[in-house]
């Protein structure tokens, strides 16, 4: 297939997204277009509104203004769990695993919307229940194997090392069978070796699960290393867009990160 010539279909289209918290303008006129298979980054200093933008896309906050279109469906007003069911799944900045559940159960929770049996089936443990439940277990175990987490399947999530917890969170997000994966600071708190593994893994899951990925990140080496497009935010506004090289040289970005004067010095 001639990939360069064919414009890939737009997956996510965010237009004029604005969010006020009282008088505080957290996100203003935020626009973003993601095409099938993109690996895009969203960066900016602390408090720039990146996570707010994520929370708007995933329905945790209701936007003040603007539209979010996912595969042609306007998501504004959807409940978070409905948005997940349309095919957007996410991880969190501070890991939010179900700490007292096993790793396997953590992943299996995410199969609930597609479990395919009713409460009545489960109370009478019908053959449908047993068949579907077996499928869920198998799918979850397969996912854990892909993510190299099989040996932890019966471990309580809280007892896992930090890096593995991150992986479980991504496995859980993948279990929602998403089309678009949002990663909120996946490299936070990782050491350089773990970061390298993470970058490999992000590439791997994108190919393997045919995903579009948007990630928020502070670690410049991650963003510059793997993202194809980067959007930079500061004070709730987009100040720059482009490929990593352009962003690195953009004086506005340098100013936002290092302060006024830094751009001239550089």
């Amino acid at each position: 297939m001639n990939e360069a010539a064919v414009e890939k279909p737009v997956v996510l289209q965010v237009e004029n997204l604005t969010k006020f918290f009282g008088g505080l303008r957290a996100v203003h006129d935020f626009n973003l277009t993601l095409r099938q298979g993109d690996l895009a980054g969203l960066i900016g200093p602390n408090g720039a509104g990146k996570t707010t933008a994520f929370n708007l896309i995933t329905g945790i906050y209701l936007p003040t203004k603007g539209s979010i279109t996912f595969n042609g469906i306007n998501l504004v007003g959807f409940e978070p769990h409905e948005i997940t069911r349309t095919g957007i799944s996410r991880t969190f900045q501070n890991i939010r695993l179900f700490n007292d559940l096993t790793v396997l159960d953590n992943v299996m929770v995410a199969f609930h919307p597609t479990s395919g049996y009713s409460l009545v089936d489960s109370i009478f443990t019908t053959s449908k229940f047993q068949r579907r439940e077996k499928e869920i277990v198998e799918k979850a175990q397969e996912l854990l194997e892909v993510m190299n987490l099989s040996r932890f399947q019966n471990e309580t999530a809280r007892n896992l090392p930090y890096g593995e917890q991150r992986r479980v969170e991504i496995a859980r997000a993948l279990a929602c069978s998403p089309q678009l994966l949002l990663l909120d600071e996946p490299a936070a708190g990782m050491n350089p070796k773990e970061i390298l593994q993470l970058m490999d893994m992000i590439h791997f899951v994108r190919e393997r699960f045919n995903l579009t990925i948007l990630l928020i990140e502070h670690q410049m080496r991650v963003v510059m290393g793997i993202c194809e497009h980067i959007t930079v935010m500061d004070f709730g506004e987009v100040i720059a867009r482009g490929v990593p090289r352009e962003i690195q040289e953009n004086p506005k970005v340098i100013e936002a990160y290092l302060g006024k004067g830094a751009a001239n010095a550089a």
């Binding site: 978070p80 069911r85 939010r96 609930h112 489960s122 439940e133």
Partner: protein, 464 residues
């Protein structure tokens, strides 16, 4: 002093716990063989489990049977057994809400009271020649459920509807169902009443098997009625945070208590006799019913928790935001756990009312309502086995052994029970903060679907 009764009562506790272990074990036995009858194939494990449960039932039934003046368990022990069964049901329901779903509820005792009074009213009226109780409660519950489901279907397309608006619609629906039920009762009751007998003696429908059926329906409808009330109450209140929810449910308990005290004046139920207490409830609860209802609740609870829905219930306890992001409808999951827990409490109330034969509002005071909470903390939050064992142990120790032992010292001494058990609770929290038993037994332990073993667990490199 004669210490034999005390020693015996302690032995009974050990026997009861061993009995529970055996019961849960036999329910959990997996044979792994299938028999084929025609086109259908059955797992014979089910038959083994059913047989085991039957044996477990008959063992106790035999112990309760009077052989020429000798029975292994006396009437007092039978009472303890029935109390323990009802307590298991209430406590499992509360554990579902608090232990598994993380919503701190103090209102279960209120639902227990609703179930008790509703079921008692039905059979009391029935045995006194009035069928309206059963007809109105039954039709009300059925019509109400249909209406609630219809409203739910109609509202499912609306997004971000304020919870109070949907609550108002449900409330109107429920009131309408009640109105219809009263009218159904007015029409149907005259046809049934002649068969119920009069002051001279019971009619054909008010004795024997027919009365047992009415008792069963009364308890089930009372449970469903309590569940319906919990749905209406939980809908707006569950959207509050956990602590506020706890306070609101405490308020609910107090409201129910107050209504019970004034049931003959504020509510149109003169037969409940308000604060004086309702007397003359037919004592229909037998070991078969108590055991049967308890088993039903245990099985439903276990199958619910081990299902996909059960995992979502747990995930809401662990992290609501993450659960939401995983596609879990948090609001309806909370509501489901709350309604199911209240259903169990309502069923327990119905069984209790027909064992004790006398309902006084004092038994449903919210202070007594802390008992199931204490039991689930003793047994471990989120542990079904712990709850069951703690409920039996609690009843048999507190009301059995300790009363016996302290009774030896003086007639007033048994009151010290209420000093001793808070102290033991304190001690337990220091020694075993996760509860007395931190494991599940037999039936409650197994994952329903066996896992494929992984390389690491096999300790080798062979791939299965």
């Amino acid at each position: 002093m004669d210490f034999l009764p005390t020693v015996l009562s302690l032995v009974k506790i050990v026997v009861v716990i061993a009995y529970l272990y055996g019961l849960l074990w036999v329910l959990g036995v997996r044979v792994g063989k299938k028999i084929t009858i025609g086109k259908q194939s059955f797992d014979i494990s089910i038959l083994v489990n059913a047989l085991g449960a039957l044996v477990a039932f008959f063992v106790v039934q035999l112990a309760l049977t009077d052989f020429n003046g000798f029975s292994l368990l006396n009437a007092f022990d039978a009472g303890l057994l029935y109390q323990a069964c009802t307590m298991v049901m209430v406590a499992l329901g509360l554990n579902l809400i608090y232990g598994f779903n993380g919503q701190f509820s103090l209102g279960q005792w209120g639902f227990y009271g609703i179930g008790a009074y509703a079921a008692a009213d039905v059979t009391y009226r029935w045995t006194n020649g009035d069928s309206r109780g059963l007809v109105v409660l039954g039709s009300g519950v059925v019509i109400g459920m249909i209406i609630l489901v219809l409203i739910n279907k109609a509202l499912s397309n609306l997004r971000r509807m304020p919870v109070l608006s949907s609550f108002t619609l449900y409330l109107i629906g429920a009131l309408f169902a009640g109105f219809l039920a009263v009218n159904v009762g007015r029409w149907v009751a005259p046809f049934l009443d002649p068969y119920l007998g009069n002051a001279l003696g019971p009619g054909p429908l008010a004795e024997g098997a027919a009365l047992q059926v009415v008792y069963f329906l009364a308890v089930v409808f009372a449970g469903l009625f309590a569940a319906g009330i919990s749905f209406l109450f939980g809908l707006p209140v569950l959207s509050l945070g956990s602590d506020y929810f706890g306070i609101a449910t405490l308020g609910f308990s107090i409201v129910i208590y107050t209504l019970m005290v004034n049931s003959d004046t504020v509510l149109p139920f003169p037969e409940m006799k308000g604060g004086r207490g309702m007397i003359g409830i037919p004592k229909l609860t037998t070991w078969a019913w108590a055991f049967g209802f308890m088993l039903l609740v245990i099985i439903i609870m276990r199958n619910l928790i081990r299902s996909s829905t059960g995992r979502t219930i747990l995930s809401v306890r662990e992290d609501e935001i993450a659960a939401r992001a995983m596609g879990v409808d948090v609001a309806s999951t909370k509501l489901l756990a709350f309604v199911a827990g209240s259903l169990f409490a309502g069923l327990a109330g119905g069984v209790y009312a027909h064992y004790i034969g006398f309902l006084s509002p004092g038994a449903f005071d919210f202070l007594v309502g802390f008992n199931p909470l204490i039991i689930i903390v003793f047994g471990g939050l989120g542990s079904m086995t712990g709850t069951i064992v703690a409920a039996f142990g609690w009843i048999f120790f507190l009301e059995g052994s300790l009363r016996e032992l302290l009774g030896k010292i003086s007639t007033e001494a048994p009151s010290w029970r209420y000093v001793l058990y808070p102290l033991s609770l304190l001690l337990l929290m220091l020694v075993r903060p996760k509860g007395l038993l931190n494991t599940e037994w037999g039936f409650l332990k197994a994952r329903l679907i066996p896992l494929r073993r992984t390389n690491a667990q096999q300790g080798g490199t062979n791939h299965e």
